[in-house]
Amino acid sequence: MSTKQLILRNLQKNVKNYYLYLFALVFTVALYFTFVTLQFAPAISSKESINLAAMIRTTSIFLIVIIGVFLFYANNLFIKRRSKEIGLFQLIGMTKSRIFFIISLENAIVFLFSIVIGTFIGFALSKFILMIFFKVIGIEESASLFFSMNAFWLTLLVFSVIFLLVMVMNYVFLKRRTILHLFSVTTTTEERVKKISIWEILMGILGIVFILLGYYVSSKLFDGDFNDFQQMMNAMVSILGLVIVGTYLFYKGSVRFITNLIRRQKNGYLDVNEVLSLSSIMFRMKSNAFMLTVITTVSAVAIGLLSLSYISFYSAEKNAEISIPDHFAFTDEGDAERFGKTLKENSIPFVEKRVEYVQKELDISSLIDTDLELTLDTSNSFMTLISEDAVSTMSLREDEVMFTGYNHMVEAIMPLKKKGTVYVSSEGTSIPLTYMGLEDEYILNTRVSPGGLPTAVVDEKLFSKIREGESSTDSYVGINVTKSSTREEANTLFHDLGLHKTHQSQLDLATTQKQNMGLVMFIVAYLGLTFLITSGCILYFKQMDESEEEKPSYRILRKLGYSKRDLLRGIAGKQVFNFGIPLIVGLLHSYFAVRSGWFFFGTTLWTPMIIVMVLYTILYSVFGLLSVKYFKKVIREVL
């Protein structure tokens, strides 16, 4: 047989065997190509926002890293699987360089094919992706289909470099192995089956303890137990360390330890599900511990970031309402009047809210734990005072004070006690006020009421007295249009007036946040999707590998009278574990990560997080189902 024939034969056989590798390659090319097409899209590259283009460029580097690692891994798996064949070629007298040449040529064909097909698919996808992209970042531009030559050259370049690196790897692999090695390479990767050792039990327990400890610390992170920046940093680093090491030990020992406990109880009597799941869970998970840890950690990061940016996106309006409690906020009565007049001229009905305020230094140290070591001087903190008249629900006596609208991020770090005495100084005397509690309502915008501290509400009489002592008083004017349908129009008028920047529009703030978060979300989702698909493929490849090694077992079981359906049910169970364990651990990690700090990003936790998690789970399950389908074929063929 000539070399040409040999290559063709091999390709034919391998295309059938490795169609998922091909699929993954095509898919990654498509993803990459679409992404760089974005970068060169005129609508984006022409925008003066250099920020956007830079962000996309940085992301594409991440994309290359994920794709590169994945392709290395996949190639590694395949060359190992083919090592017997390579050994055979050598045995019949082919030189190593000849074999390397054949493999390289084969790979070159596969890569070239993938780049062409992938670019084509990417091109078809790009309009769709561009549309989504414009939609989430709120650029009003129609996405036109265009083929970017630049994007194509970049794709070609990136994948050629990856191809060369893969070839170097193959070369090193071939150079290092002797023929004997090649024949035994598949069997050395999986470790020998033996009884569980004390060391493993210890590792198993430690893994679970580490993870739980990490979760525990994360839930305490913003509870006020860590109160200076250094401590907070230390806590975060130790959470990361605990969880990652814990995850590794979990795969290395805990999984086996737990299954062993369950197994012990069965006293040797296992049903088909257990028989099939055992080997893969007890013995293989351990040797894949490193890979699984990486997959779990990165999925957790991806899910976590996606959830957080979605939370932010989802709560953009709520957040804007907190920072600017009225549709339009003015710090100057004259400007407010001008705007009011414009609204009237355009017959837009509105209501006006006028609040006078005084900024004073208050002593609130009795409301805050004494061991707090913040930069803030709590006996002399700068707060905004308003009269009870501005808050319809409050009525206070002269010696009382109430707080309202405490920024929840600050509240999480610096919670207030339920009772205490607050001192306010007026004309040289310090007046003690009994603290009556905290309300949720936001009265002033954050520009007026700085530092994230709540606004203090006092009795009208007291307020007048304090105001008299001040050289100047300020007032805040909030304007709310009464018909929500006129809000956009009012916003345009607001812009047209060209007022000073200190006056704010709630709608503008919400839109900006939505745009920013939309962009982050899009990018994280893109990276997350790429990662999801590549890690799903890796797990699938692993399963393909496993099925090869477990064929003899399936044969025995079928001889013993297990029907195809029995086995398939067992396999399905096994896949639930194989794909489910990394998924569930990843979801748990991201849940605790999100839970510990979500309030920095928005006001709603559950809905956005659950949507993200469900989507991720569904996409992941597709790979589980694919592998069950593959096993179905294997089971059918063993007898």
Binding site: Y269, I556, L557, R558, L560, K564
Partner: protein
């Protein structure tokens, strides 16, 4: 009582053009409690015969009845159920799941039949005692010797009291001491449990443990030998003589 009755078995491989007939009309009857050996030259079709009788492979023509029931026409699901209830297997190698302990391996046939846990345990202790493997019941296959492995597969074949046990060269991978140990145990089990055993072997000594030897040549039955009242030694001599005639090989003894 007749346990297994095969008539005019034909089996061929390949398609119309490359047809290769391996079994050419074999008739066979096996009585309850018999211990039958099948011998013949390499490539004569022994494994094929065993495979079709044990429903792992389909026949091309003919009929196979087990306890009066025709099995060659059964569907895949019914076949699985037939194997699970009526058959036991012992093979030359690769017959234990190496991720399960000895005990778990042995209990597999009971687990598919959904026998109660208590009954399963009792049965396990019974066969394990008979085959002398109680002490290794918690070990993994790669921690025990070849002979112990084969006794483990024997235990698994016997535990659910199947109508027939099929064995393909069960002693092939063993040294002669372990082989005769295993065979002694097998023939003990055969007597005690009245289990029917059908075994393929190359080795006359192995065959001499059985009660009947069937010789196959080119896919047909060449001749049969019954042990009858003879001693094992005498039976062995007969077997060797026949084998010599059959394969043109003569043993010196």
């Amino acid at each position: 009582m007749i346990v297994l009755e095969a008539t005019k078995l034909h089996k061929s491989y390949g398609n119309k053009f490359t047809k290769h007939e391996v079994l050419k009309g074999i008739d066979l009857r096996i009585e309850q409690g018999e211990f039958v050996s099948i011998m013949g030259a390499s490539g004569s079709g022994k494994t094929t015969l065993l495979n079709v009788l044990s429903s792992i492979d389909r026949i091309s023509q003919g009929s196979i009845k087990v306890q009066g029931r025709e099995i060659s026409k059964l569907k895949e699901k019914e076949l699985a159920s037939y194997r699970k209830h009526e058959l036991g297997f012992i093979f030359q190698e690769y017959n234990l799941l190496d991720t399960l302990t000895v005990k778990e391996n042995i209990l597999l046939p009971l687990s598919i039949k959904k026998v109660s846990k208590k009954e399963a345990n009792e049965k396990f202790h019974e066969v394990a005692r008979e085959l002398d493997i109680e002490s290794i019941s918690e070990s993994y296959p790669n921690e025990i010797s070849g002979g112990q492995k084969q006794r483990t597969s024997a235990a698994r074949a016997f535990i659910h009291d199947p109508s027939i046990i099929f064995a393909d060269e069960p002693t092939g991978a063993l040294d002669s001491k372990s082989a005769s140990d295993l065979l002694t145990k097998l023939s003990d089990m055969n007597e005690k449990r009245k289990a029917t055993i059908m075994m393929v072997t190359h080795d006359p000594v192995t065959a001499s443990f059985s009660s009947r030897v069937i010789f196959i040549k080119d896919g047909s039955i060449y001749t049969q030998l019954n042990k009858g009242e003879q001693t094992r030694q005498a039976f062995l001599k007969d077997i060797m003589k026949t084998q010599g005639v059959l394969g043109g090989v003569s043993y010196e003894y």
